[in-house]
């Protein structure tokens, strides 16, 4: 809301300057976002007289002018079409500094020197854009310093952010009441003298019938005859412009003026268009269509409050008038409407219509049902004095169930209870009195314009904000309860994050909203989609972290960052028919691309492969002590390459996948390099973690290592052999690992491979002797070669 500081003084005496007032308003809950002086400072500009205008010898659109500045005559080039001999103009002399800091210097335009500048309003920052130079009133003395002249009318516009609970302050009088509460000065309401024409009563001009009493508790009308439509007076236009309202004609301007003055929306109808001289307020009909005064056809939602005459709708109540009844050039007689509509009904219709107006914003937040008369009288008074109308005697005011001021139960001692303050009762009640809030019988009586006051806490806030939050105490200590229940999630995610960082991975955070096309590759079900997405690239909730990470990889590769090792921990989203909300488990994703090692002068450049990502997976599992994860080959992934993918399973439950991202998928992210990834669902994994560790004594006796190699069929998996040996190895076999593997050696057939295995034997109780180890070792070799139809390599 824009409030003109000078205009505000019509309603209340203000001792402070605009900046101090702004500070006080901000501290009492009306945040002044900006104070804008109407005239910004400039210097060296005087009133000049144009003594001659000639054409520039070398440019059609430029004129060569002689301007007298009170002391000397200057030759100036001017580009404005409206410059004429004899005009008085704001003239910037050499050395002048304009509001934007622009300094006037000697300039040559097409070989002709120009010493100074004739200014437009735009150049003096008085309007956004000007068509030509500013031609001044003839009464001004030539040579007058123009800034001091303008500064006499200096105003300041306060840009105030009004919170939605205070619609009463979307007005000068509302703000004046707040200033009054802060400073203690009285509010002066505008006088509204009306000379009523008593020849015919209002009832003979109009009758009003409310059928939708819920949506429209009050509807009042006044009739004004023989108005003359014309532009409104200059002072009114200037005031409206200063608060951002475009002047139209005197009638519309007056309703707007009263709107910003009182905060109560009014509407003026052309009375001759009101058929049958009847107003009916009813709910909209099913599929009703109506053309609003902006010429747009509106399909009315049900339960919209409609203002109608005998035959047809003439306005959407509280939102916008109709084209069929608007005040226009031929209008002579006016029906002025001042009504009160139920906020929720206006809000609902406004939202459904996608229509928000100055009127609807105020009605949906809550206008004052008892402010109807003051507003309509003020407007009638202004119309009669500024548009020459005759105001018909009386108001046709239909208000079947008057709305009473709220009585709010209030205990002054509760103020200190909630604020931790030490205010005495007199201070509290005096503070409230400054807001016109009277305390009687343990209750506060709140005026009907204070729609925000409903309960004790609201009253406490009124005290607090006027005492000033800065003056309320701040406590330095409290009693802490030792055992509060709290979730472990954050702690667990923090632990996993730390482990991934220790593995040398860099954390990213990606958008949870992605393209539907991208989401499809990562889920077999339909992904969770957004009804009203911001844009095409944010339509769907990510079913996996991988798409976002691939986007990140692509972003970095395009910026010549070739070696990427990223992880992300975050929620993913899936449909869940068993619950009201979609499933949103936490997931973890790691992606790798580029070189195996940080490129330096002494490392050989090698591209990463499957075993790099698998290595990260295994290291991560070791770090989180997850030793019961099993892997199996998996060739059904939507996004991972069938030949290079494993599934990870714990206790028969698949918790994630690891492998190379399909070319088809990297393709949609414009990735040309191979990317490897693993993705784990943490809600499945976290419960499996055994993070409480118990010390296991370090072996005191030496171990014995023995190696052997076998030739087996290529199709036999390393994991099968290891698992078999572990099973049959007995309790002295501590570990078995593969330390070499190759194919195509001498004396090997094409479908064979050589597996070299290292067995470690260890006892917790004693040093092992060669004979017993040898016996077990030989037995293992025999059984293994038999089991896998292998030959022992010698």
């Amino acid at each position: 809301m824009k409030i003109s500081f000078n205009w505000l003084k019509d309603y209340i005496a203000i001792e402070d300057g605009p900046y101090d007032l702004a500070k006080k308003l901000t501290e009492s809950g009306f945040e002044v976002e900006e104070v804008i002086p109407s005239v910004q400072s400039f210097s060296g500009v005087v009133v000049g007289r144009v003594d001659s205008v000639e054409k520039h010898p070398d440019a059609d659109k430029l004129s060569l002018c002689e301007v007298f500045d009170g002391e000397a005559t200057n030759r100036v080039i001017c580009g404005a079409p409206n410059v004429k001999k004899g005009q008085l103009v704001p003239f910037a002399k050499l050395g002048a500094v304009l509001p934007q800091g622009f300094k006037i210097k000697k300039a040559k335009i097409r070989d002709v020197e120009s010493t100074g500048m004739i200014c437009s309003k735009e150049e003096l920052s008085l309007e956004k854009s000007s068509d030509g130079i500013w031609v001044l009133e003839e009464s001004l003395p030539v040579g007058l310093d123009f800034y001091s002249h303008l500064a006499k009318q200096q105003d300041h516009i306060l840009e105030i952010a009004i919170t939605p609970n205070r619609p009463d302050c979307l007005s000068f009088i509302g703000i004046a009441r707040e200033v009054s509460a802060i400073t203690g000065k009285e509010v002066t309401l505008p006088s509204a003298p009306i000379k009523e024409d008593k020849s015919k009563p209002i009832d003979s001009h109009i009758s009003i019938h409310i059928h939708d009493k819920e949506g429209c508790p009050r509807y009042a009308g006044r009739v004004i005859l023989d108005v003359v439509l014309s532009p409104s007076p200059r002072w009114m236009q200037e005031r409206l412009e200063s608060v951002g309202i475009r002047p139209i004609n005197n009638i519309v301007d007056i309703t707007n003026y009263v709107l910003v003055e009182y905060g109560h929306p009014l509407h003026a109808f052309d009375l001759s268009e009101i058929k049958g001289a009847e107003i009916h307020v009813r709910k909209s009909d099913l599929n009703e269509v109506f053309i609003t005064l902006d010429g747009k056809e509106r399909h009315l939602p049900t339960d919209t409050v409609m203002i109608c005459d005998k035959e047809r709708a003439v306005a959407i109540g509280g939102i916008m008038g109709g084209l069929n009844s608007e005040v226009s050039e031929g209008t002579r007689n006016i029906l002025l409407e001042s009504a009160y509509f139920k906020p929720s009904r206006i809000a609902q219709s406004g939202r459904r219509l996608g229509l928000s107006t100055e009127a609807s914003q105020r009605f949906e937040r809550g206008a004052d049902p008892n402010g109807v008369t003051a507003a309509i009288n003020r407007a009638a008074s202004l119309i009669s004095s500024l548009a020459g109308g005759r105001v018909v005697s009386g108001i046709c005011d239909v208000y079947p169930h008057p709305i009473e001021p709220a009585r709010i139960f209030f205990r002054p001692q509760r103020v200190n209870h909630l604020l931790g303050s030490d205010l005495n009762q007199t201070t509290i009640l005096n503070t409230l009195k400054r807001l016109q809030l009277d305390y009687k019988d343990n209750h506060i009586i709140a005026p009907t314009y204070r729609v925000d006051l409903k309960m004790e806490a609201d009253i406490i806030e009124e005290v607090a904000r006027l005492v000033n939050y800065s003056n309320l105490p701040s406590r330095k200590e409290t009693t802490i309860v030792y055992e509060l229940p709290h979730q472990k999630t954050d702690q667990m995610l923090g632990f996993l994050r730390r482990m991934l960082l220790e593995l040398g991975l860099t954390e990213v955070l990606t958008n949870s909203m992605i393209r539907e096309k991208e989401a499809q590759y990562f889920t077999e079900e339909k992904a969770v989609s957004i009804l009203n997405p911001i844009s095409d690239d944010m339509t769907t909730m990510r079913p996996s972290l991988l798409p976002g990470m691939l986007m990140t990889v692509s972003y970095n590769l395009n910026r010549h960052q070739p070696n990427l090792r990223f992880f992300e921990i975050g929620r993913i989203f899936k449909q869940d028919s068993n619950n009201p909300l979609p499933a949103q488990p936490y997931a973890l994703c790691v992606v790798l691309t580029g070189d195996r090692s940080v490129p330096t002068w002494n490392t050989t450049k090698e591209e990463i492969d499957f075993f790099d990502i698998k290595g990260y997976l295994e290291s991560f599992f070791r770090k989180i002590f997850l030793d019961n994860a099993q892997i199996f080959l998996y060739d059904k992934s939507l996004y991972l390459n069938a030949k290079e993918t494993i599934a990870i399973q714990i206790d028969q439950q698949v918790v994630g996948y690891c492998g190379k991202v399909k070319d088809e998928v990297t393709g949609i992210f414009d990735l040309k390099k191979p990317v490897y990834a693993f993705h784990l669902e943490l809600d499945d994994l976290l419960p499996k973690l055994m993070l409480s560790r118990i010390f296991e004594p370090i072996p005191r006796f030496p171990h014995v290592e023995m190696d052997f190699a076998i030739l087996v069929d290529k199709k036999i998996l390393a994991s099968q052999v290891l698992k078999y040996i572990k099973n049959i190895g007995g309790n002295l076999l501590h570990n078995v690992e593969i330390f070499d593997i190759f194919e195509g050696g001498m004396n090997m057939s094409a479908d064979q491979k050589s597996l070299a295995l290292r067995l470690r034997f260890q006892s917790k109780e004693r040093t092992l002797n060669d004979t017993e180890v040898n016996t077990i070792f030989k037995e293992i070799i025999t059984k293994t070669t038999q089991e896998f139809n292998a030959t022992l390599r010698k």
Partner: protein, 369 residues
């Protein structure tokens, strides 16, 4: 020098030998002298070679020449057999002394070379080393961790809640009914009529209060969503921390104290906090709080538009209607709630002026934190 045989003494021996000529034939005597000369020669040669060793390789050559299996000293030992028996011990002792002497010098030199790596090739030690990949925490997570640490010190527990929320938790229970104009304060993304992407972390307040009874003292960090077109100061995805304290006798003064403590721990003791009245449907009284600008420390600068203050977020006393929604007795219990933007604080802390950069994850950005 231990074991060095003085040539003068040698002569003496020879003169003594004159007496001994009776015992030895002349050619034997000549052999004895030659052999004693051999030891002297080896020593002389070794000393020369020893002085010129300048690399591990040269040292190895030295070792082979003198101490090797076929080295000069071994060969000298082989000569012992040819000496008369009474001369053998004397010669053997002398030769042994030489061997010990040479070995010692060799070892000294070897350890000197090893410790200073005086190999023949000089390595440019200014070349970079072999580096492992290093990981970095996302700056927003760093900021969240810092916030969490401060509140943990202030006795707060950490809670979590879903990002896709029901209309009830995100709005209704927070005293924002369907027609409430405050709904327009936050442009909402919908999954269905009744399901939204949470527009703030405040629904966690409701979930926690439904689950437990007072006293409550928690913060809930998390991701939130708004239907904002991305620009330098808006991101449709961003992060907040919600705070909630409920108990008997909890007051606005506690809220002020906690926020001040936070400001001091986060940005320094000299940072002042300002509370201004504001409006949120789920708190009454409501406040917005500002910190002294952390760049000019309150003096006024370009970043704070010369006001000396930077707006941080909102807070207030829990609205009685919110207590009503979770079945708490607002006569018995009072509470305060506050919010803060993780992204916003990170932007302030790191001097970042475009929120979108957090979600671009440019490695050159991430590597700065």
């Amino acid at each position: 020098m231990i074991g060095t045989i003085n040539p003068v003494i040698f002569c003496g021996m020879i003169q003594k030998g004159k007496c001994a000529t009776q015992a030895f034939p002349f050619f034997i005597l000549k052999l004895i002298i030659a052999m004693h000369n051999t030891i002297a020669k080896i020593r002389e040669e070794f000393d020369k070679d020893y002085a010129s060793v300048d690399s591990l390789d040269a040292l190895e050559e030295l070792r082979i020449k003198y101490l090797g299996r076929k080295g000069l000293i071994s060969e000298a030992f082989n000569l012992i057999a040819e000496l008369p028996a009474q001369e053998k011990p004397q010669f053997g002792q002398n030769l042994n002394r030489l061997k010990v002497e040479v070995e010692k010098k060799y070892e000294n030199l070897l350890s000197r070379f090893k410790s200073s790596d005086h190999s023949s090739e000089t390595i440019d030690l200014t070349l970079p080393g072999r580096q492992p990949f290093i990981g970095r925490k996302h700056p927003l997570v760093q900021m969240a961790d810092e916030i969490k640490d401060i509140f943990k010190n202030l006795g707060f527990g950490i809670e979590d809640g879903p990002e896709i929320e029901s209309d009830y938790y995100n709005f209704e229970a927070l005293n924002i009914p369907k027609s409430h104009p405050a709904r327009e304060m936050q442009d909402t993304l919908y999954i269905s009529d009744e399901i939204v992407l949470r527009t703030h972390t405040s629904p966690v307040q409701i979930r926690v209060m439904e689950r437990t009874q007072p006293p409550i003292r928690i913060i809930a960090p998390g991701r939130v969503y708004r239907r904002d077109t991305p620009d330098a100061s808006h991101s449709p995805v961003f992060h907040q921390v919600e705070g909630l304290v409920v108990g008997e006798g909890v007051t606005f003064a506690d809220l002020k104290g906690v926020i001040e403590a936070f400001a001091h721990q986060m940005f320094g003791k000299d940072i002042k906090v300002r509370f201004r009245p504001s409006f949120f449907p789920f708190t009454e009284p409501s406040a917005e709080y500002d910190f002294n600008c952390i760049f000019c420390r309150g003096k006024g600068c370009r970043i704070c538009k010369n006001s000396g203050w930077i707006e941080i977020s909102g807070a207030g006393m829990v609205h009685p209607n919110v207590f009503k929604a979770v079945g708490y007795d607002s006569e018995k219990y009072t509470g305060y709630a506050f919010g803060m933007g993780i992204d916003r604080l990170a932007m302030l802390r790191y001097g970042i002026n475009d929120i979108r950069i957090f979600f671009e994850n440019d490695l050159r950005f991430l590597n700065q934190f």
